[in-house]
Amino acid sequence: MNHFFTLLRHEIRALLISPATYIATVLFLGLMGFIFQGLLVSFVRESRETSPAVDFFSLFWLPVFFLSPLLTMRSLAEERRLGTLETLMTTSVSSPEVVLSKFFAAYGFYLTLWLSTLSFHWVLFEFAENPKLIDPGPLIGGYVFVALSGLMFIAAGIFSSALTRSQLVAGLLTLAMSFVFTLGFRYLDDFTIFQSEADSLRSVIIDHVQIFQHAEDFVSGVIDTRAPVLYLSMTGILLFMAMLALDARSVRT
């Protein structure tokens, strides 16, 4: 791990000097602000039991769908396409160092973007003067959920990017994987074969991969260890496969 921090610094610098970073930031904050404002308007129209944070985090999947491909599709695919991967891998860096530095740079940026949405809640807190609207519980739970699930989504993006030299393919693959992880598993849950036998292994597994359910649980303060285990193990598997894909160079893509 000698070169990890050299590589990470390089990745972060690349992020900071790239215009795409700032465009993604503006888009993300614009969209999230728009959603938040819409939420507040609906709160004004009819009063609800829950705080705005609960509804805010129930829409977590929307930015995931466009952020995780955008942040990761460039990382390894672009290096492969330009050929800089060859100059990189012929120095004494290892593939885990390369994959992890790309992963942590993208994940750090993902987290920074999400944390900047804290300002929405701060604005609300400052001006609403209604303590009922600000409930720290759902906020903390929501951000913990976003941080944990983000690990998996970003790892899926890094893995897709390691497979191909085309950014477009990498991005689409990430989008498809995020789609399967979120909506796909929820769809499976609706199938009758998984409902008929409540205790069968199949239905237990399907029960455990309900990401929307996790989001709800975290926001309402139920932190079940099974969810972090799922996200961390998926992240580990995906990153490991990305390292393997990076090492498999004899078959040239």
């Binding site: 070169h3 050299t6 390089h10 690349a14 000097i17 050929g83 100059t87 990189l88 004494s92 004899s250």
Partner: protein, 363 residues
């Protein structure tokens, strides 16, 4: 391990991509401080061989040792001793030259003051001082190429491998890179591949010609010339009857060939004549006295012309195409004879000398 002697050892290297044999039983050695030129037509396996040497692509079979360390077994040791510039010289577009070199230096485990000194030195050596703060994506091809070379020599590696370092450069830039490579002679082992043959000839101590994944020739340019095209050409400018010229020269050696380069004499009545002699002896004096012996002939100029590496290259690769028959079975003598005949590019009429028909180094 890193004592004098060989720095690169390649033994029976094979690389297969699916059903294609990209590298087929290549073996060679490079001594410390030697500059080796890798030649071969496109798709001959040059880049693949170089990639295997760097450890970027694993070999299907065979052993590569860099400074005594096996590429497959101790990749980290090998990578520390290696400077590599890949084909097309990939560089990140959005960094500045100095930033890029500093980053590469850190990856190559140079730190602190030494790093600063090394970066300054290579910027100086590669004449990049004035563009040190420019963004790489905005540099012209020649500058980018120099950045690639600067990166390859940055960590003062014992072995430098450059895949077509002068491709797409203008003559001034080629000269600069050639001088730079020549300045590494004696200190580092360098392998360069190139299509520009005169350049290889000028820079390299030894040439290895590869075709279809095999080594078809290796040695110094003059050795290769002897092996593949044992002949020297003389360009004469003679006034008089061409047939008389032929008769006068017939006495020199039985095996020769005469061509006119000009069908009609120039305004002073001189013909351009090219004589090819199958020997590497100097014949200038003999030619002069033979022509002068005939009072009706007048000679104005004699120029000796050695076969260029280009001709050697064409001959060597053509011969290997003939020899690598579909089944790579032992080639019958008659075929080899034909093959050797075709070696004579402009001289189809000549019978080849027996020693010129050396079989290829096929396994």
């Amino acid at each position: 391990m890193t004592t004098n002697g060989t720095t690169i050892e390649v033994e029976n290297l094979y690389k297969r991509f699916g059903r294609v044999e990209a590298v087929n039983n290549i073996s060679f050695e490079v001594r410390r401080g030697e500059i080796i030129g890798f030649l071969g037509p496109n798709g001959a396996g040059k880049s693949t061989t170089m990639r295997i040497l760097t450890g970027y692509v694993p070999a299907t079979k065979g052993v590569v040792r860099i400074c005594g360390h096996s590429v497959a077994g101790e990749p980290a040791q090998v990578k520390r001793r290696l400077g590599y510039m890949p084909e097309n010289n990939p560089l990140p577009e959005d960094l500045r030259v100095r930033e890029y070199l500093r980053w590469r230096g850190r990856l190559k485990e140079i730190h602190g003051r030494h790093l600063r000194e090394r970066v300054e030195t290579v910027l100086e050596q590669c004449d990049l001082n004035r563009s040190r703060n420019r963004i790489i994506g905005k540099l012209s091809k020649g500058y980018r190429q120099r950045v690639g070379v600067a990166d390859a020599i940055l960590a003062e590696p014992e072995v430098i491998i450059m895949d077509e370092p002068t491709i797409g450069l203008d003559p001034h830039q080629i000269l600069m890179i050639r001088d730079l490579i020549a300045s590494l002679r004696g200190r580092m082992s360098v392998i360069i591949s190139s299509h520009i043959l005169p350049e290889i000839e000028m820079t390299c101590d030894r040439v290895i010609i590869i075709n279809q994944g095999r080594i078809v020739a290796s040695g110094t340019p003059s050795q290769l010339r002897k092996e593949f095209l044992l002949r020297t050409s003389y360009d004469l400018e003679v006034k008089g009857d061409i047939r008389e010229v032929q008769m006068a020269l017939a006495s020199l050696t039985p095996k020769q060939q005469i061509e006119h380069s000009l069908d009609r004499p120039d305004k002073d009545g001189f013909y351009g004549v090219t004589v090819q002699l199958r020997s590497d002896r100097h014949y200038g004096e003999d030619i002069l006295s033979a022509v002068n012996a005939n009072p009706r002939l007048r000679i104005r100029a004699v120029r000796r012309r050695e076969a260029s590496l280009e001709e050697v290259f064409l001959a060597a690769t053509r011969r290997s195409w003939e020899i690598v028959s579909p089944m790579s079975e032992p080639v019958p003598t008659v075929r080899r004879r034909e093959a050797a005949e075709r070696v004579e590019i402009p001289a189809p009429a000549l019978a080849p000398e027996p020693q010129a028909i050396q079989p290829d180094r096929t396994p």
